[in-house]
Symmetry: C2
């Protein structure tokens, strides 16, 4: 799929997934897209764990979902980890790093014909959730669980979020220009 | 260009740009890619100003560059603004929002045959720099300048940053699995 088309087509899917498995080859392409993202001072603070074990998926989905709002029964998922180390001096870029990695993965997921949703608040708003996921995935100290992406084929297509008009958010050579 | 190819080909270019102008149509496509990025709770906190005015470009390039390290004489650029408003309750996602927008733009820039570099620390490490850019672009209160992307055709190809091996950063079903 064309890059600009993938950018346009990506959206946050919050419905039911088909039980069609996601082949490891596709998960690997998605992970590689995440690792190809830039990082502040090339610190490569983002690490990723792809999930296709049904028991693990069930446990993690139940930990992150609220009222089934963020995807029902995804056949795969990706857990996003960060190392909170500075880029230089006291400047931290790890949020930027994992956000760029997540966006790359969402585009790869879209390009490969799957749906997903960036789930972050439901992971990070509770340290207990973060720690339970870390324990399940045997994540060592020094890494923090910051996000989760379900991956699968959408059962029915969802809707793109409504957006402000271009002229309200982008201009040439000066604000509101 | 294919989406996964754009992800692989994107890299941080820090050399000289050709003086070939970047047509407004291409800048618009790049801005649209930025605005198409997801945002926490759809708050759309990111705004963008594309630059193709030579005088403005010269002033802004001189403000953000250190020893010419981040691109010499780009014929265009994009200034990234954020509104620091919460996604919900006391949870802020504006860094995630502008990072996803920047990554989308870097991929669009790559897909359209241009080079760029995510410039952030050199903008945000000095409030004076942020304020001088804001003043030049007539950015009102409530918006903060957080990044800058030069845009143009690379005079000579740069190098991709070296990366850790896949197995050091990505696994299946458990950490280091």
């Amino acid at each position: 799929m064309d890059a600009l088309e993938a950018v346009r087509k990506r959206y946050s899917f919050r419905g039911s997934y088909k039980n069609t498995p996601v082949p490891r080859d596709d998960l690997k392409k998605i992970l590689e897209a995440g690792l190809d993202a830039p990082s502040g001072c090339n610190k490569q603070t983002t690490s990723l764990i792809a999930l296709d074990d049904p028991e693990l998926l069930k446990e993690i989905t139940s930990l992150v979902k609220k009222n089934g709002f963020n995807g029902v029964n995804p056949p795969a998922g990706i857990c996003v980890l960060t190392q909170k180390v500075p880029g230089y001096a006291d400047k931290y870029f790890y949020v930027q790093d994992y956000s760029a990695a997540i966006e790359n993965m969402l585009l790869a997921i879209t390009a490969l014909g799957y749906a997903s949703c960036w789930i972050e608040g439901q992971v990070t708003e509770s340290e207990e959730t973060q720690e339970r996921i870390a324990k399940l995935l045997q994540v060592p100290a020094g890494y923090t669980v910051v996000g989760y992406l379900p991956v699968g084929v959408a059962e029915t297509e969802g809707r793109h979020a409504e957006r402000k008009a271009f002229r309200e958010r982008a201009w040439f050579n000066k604000f509101d220009g």
